[in-house]
């Protein structure tokens, strides 16, 4: 059971963020860390590989400046190796460009299952994984709240607004997981030390056999034309309970037509 997990390395959400002038894209020049959203995918993959009684978990990431800090975190959790695609030509990539790169990198591994998060914490378009699936010609199942392997098929409980769907698909397939799927482990000290010597293969666009014109700003189909401040929200209403608190909340919710 060989599993690929797409992991995005993002600027630390706790640190102040800024947009680059002109392109309006997130400034990614500082240190990047493992997106918390992807820790769930890594954990799921590790558990599935363990349950299958063998096989490897390989990470695939596209990030600027040869960044490996986030990959090391996922390797410390227990993944076996990683592929990093880093190339100046990728600057300004949109989701489709990213998907082309990830698909090409995944193609080199030969995976039974590809896991990604439902959406990233910084870009959160939630479109990359399905595009990867399409480019690889694989089925994709999104919003997985549980994943199980049964021989050559994957069984997924797919979160919906009303409840969940039970979906079965032949392998290989792309599955995107939600934050509820498993509880990610903290890397152990041994894991952190072992991650130091696990292989990370760094590839350029050319190594993947892609043409610079297909990816990055050059191949981008999406342009950010302007960025505006989010509208300030109105202050919430504070209901002080004077014996009628419960009734007033019920009335409030009725007015919103939620009950």
């Amino acid at each position: 059971m060989n599993i690929v997990v797409c992991v995005k390395q993002i600027p630390d959400p706790a640190a102040p963020q800024s947009l680059e002038a002109g392109s309006h894209t997130l400034d990614r020049s500082g240190k990047l860390i493992l997106d918390d959203s992807d820790a769930y995918g890594v954990e799921m993959a590790l558990q599935l590989a363990e349950q299958a009684g063998g096989g490897e978990v390989t990470l695939v990431s596209m990030a600027p400046n040869g960044e490996t800090a986030g990959l090391r975190t996922a390797l410390a959790m227990g993944a076996a190796k990683a592929i990093l695609v880093s190339d100046d030509a990728l600057k300004g990539s949109d989701a489709l460009g990213t998907a082309k790169v990830l698909a090409a990198a995944i193609g080199r591994v030969g995976a039974d299952l590809i896991i990604a998060a439902t959406e990233s914490s910084d870009g959160y378009t939630g479109t990359t994984p399905v595009q990867v699936a399409e480019l690889l010609g694989l089925p994709s199942i999104t919003f997985a709240k549980s994943v199980a392997i049964d021989g050559g098929t994957v069984k997924v409980d797919r979160q919906t607004e009303a409840g969940y769907d039970e979906v079965t698909s032949p392998l290989p397939a792309v599955v995107t997981v939600t934050a509820g799927v498993v509880e990610p482990r903290y890397p152990s000290f041994k894991g952190i030390m072992a991650a130091k010597s696990k292989p990370i293969e760094t590839l350029s666009v050319a190594d993947l056999g892609l043409d610079g014109g297909q990816v990055g700003a050059a191949g981008g189909r999406q342009v950010i034309t302007s960025v505006d401040e989010a509208e300030a929200r109105n202050a919430g209403e504070i209901v002080v309970d004077e014996g009628d608190g419960a009734q007033r909340i019920v009335t409030f919710l009725e007015n919103l037509k939620v009950i």
Partner: protein, 398 residues
């Protein structure tokens, strides 16, 4: 999904970590500790129990034994690694005392002087947190003057010893599996000095009576006076060589100082973070109070003090890990950290106005915990004595 839970503090700290692995250790422990947070510790103290959940998470991940030998279940790292674990917990508002004792003192002493059997019996449990060893050296009538220890180990005819005496301020004795006891094992010489030996005594041995000290510390670990009344110590429970106790205890004292400095530095960071957040958001006139230099400068000053003290602690840990004499640096690091933490907490309380004294804000209830580092594990005065004598070459004063 933007998680704030577990996020590191936005305050920029000097990077004292000399490898990407140490940086990764720091961010991992920080995330783990902050997922518990100060609220957790306060609950634990209120419920009069131990922080078992966090302790066991730290143990399972190998964080409590980072510095212990790999062949005995440790991580094979050094005190620099353990200091990271300790500091990040304290910086999250969780000063863990037991780490300063069982892994920091008992661990290195056993690793350095224990027999293979003792190491195999105790170190894996200390590293995983499943076993705890408390440290019982201070006595009411001897205090800082270890030569005056009167707890006595008398050899028994059939082998082993009988312990008699009294210790005070043995932290966490009630939750410990064993006590590391320093006792005199010989008659005093003509200068009144006695040779000491070191024993590992299971806490369920008959004759051990613990009496809790009513202390001001809001910690899960309780403090005890311990009476040793004809306590039988088996032959295989002496650590290292008979009469060599004092020399052997030194294997644990520099790690203890480094660990204590790490707790205090973490408390300092916690206080500065709280004070800074409050100063940035609290507004009573036209600007946030942090815009007034009278509020901002004390916090900035504390930040400098705490960062300097972190550098000193990192230096001490580096010396210790490299096998150099770390006595001077470890003591100085503990001295600075105790002062920096107390100052930072005092200033953070001041910035909070009346709220600084409300338990809800998690500052005033830390006061005696931080203040303690000016007294224990070794007092400021004794460190000054040591520096005056050994660093400055002045005559011995005591």
């Amino acid at each position: 999904m933007l998680t704030t839970k577990g996020s590191p503090s936005p305050i920029s700290e000097l990077n004292v970590d000399d490898s990407p692995e140490r940086e990764a250790l720091r961010s991992t422990v920080s995330k783990l500790a902050r997922s518990y947070g100060r609220t957790y510790l306060k609950e634990v103290v209120k419920e009069q129990r131990q922080p078992t959940e966090l302790w066991s998470d730290l143990g399972k991940a190998g964080f409590l034994g980072v510095h212990l030998p790999e062949e005995y279940g440790g991580g094979g790292g050094g005190m620099a690694d353990l200091a990271i674990v300790i500091e990040e917990n304290a910086a999250a508002g969780i000063p863990l005392f037991m780490i300063v004792i069982s892994p920091s003192i008992a661990g290195p002493i056993l690793a350095a002087h224990g027999t293979d059997e003792q190491k195999a019996t105790w170190l894996p449990g200390i590293a995983s947190g499943e076993l705890k060893v408390a440290f019982s050296i201070t006595e009411p009538d001897a205090g800082l003057n270890t030569h005056n220890i009167t707890t006595t180990a008398t050899p028994r005819p059939g082998g082993g010893w009988t312990l008699n005496g009294q210790k005070y301020w043995t932290s966490g004795a009630d939750e410990a599996d064993a006590l590391l006891v320093v006792a005199r094992s010989d008659e005093p010489d003509d200068r009144g000095r006695t040779r000491l030996s070191l024993f590992l005594v299971p806490t369920d041995t008959p004759g051990i009576v613990m009496q809790e000290i009513d202390s001001a510390l809001t910690l899960p670990e309780k403090q005890f006076v311990i009476f040793y009344d004809n306590v039988e110590v088996l032959e295989h429970n002496i650590i290292g060589d008979e009469h060599e106790g004092l020399r052997q205890v030194f294997a644990g004292l520099n790690p203890e100082r480094i660990a204590a400095a790490a707790v205090a530095n973490g408390i300092g960071r916690y206080a500065i973070e709280a004070g800074t957040n409050y100063a940035a958001n609290r507004q009573v006139w036209k600007t946030p109070i942090g815009a007034h230099q009278g509020v901002a400068h004390p916090l900035a000053r504390s930040h400098i003090e705490v960062q300097s003290s972190r550098l000193l602690a990192a230096h001490a840990a580096q010396l210790f890990d490299a096998g150099h004499d770390a006595g001077e640096a470890s003591n100085m690091a503990k001295f600075c950290a105790g002062q920096a933490a107390t100052n930072a907490l005092d200033r953070a309380i001041q910035v909070h106005g009346g709220n600084g004294l409300s338990n809800e804000f998690g500052l005033s209830d830390l006061w005696f915990v931080a203040r303690m580092f000016r007294t224990a594990p070794v007092s400021e005065e004794m460190i000054l004595n040591h520096v005056a004598q050994h660093s400055l070459g002045l005559p011995k004063s005591y």
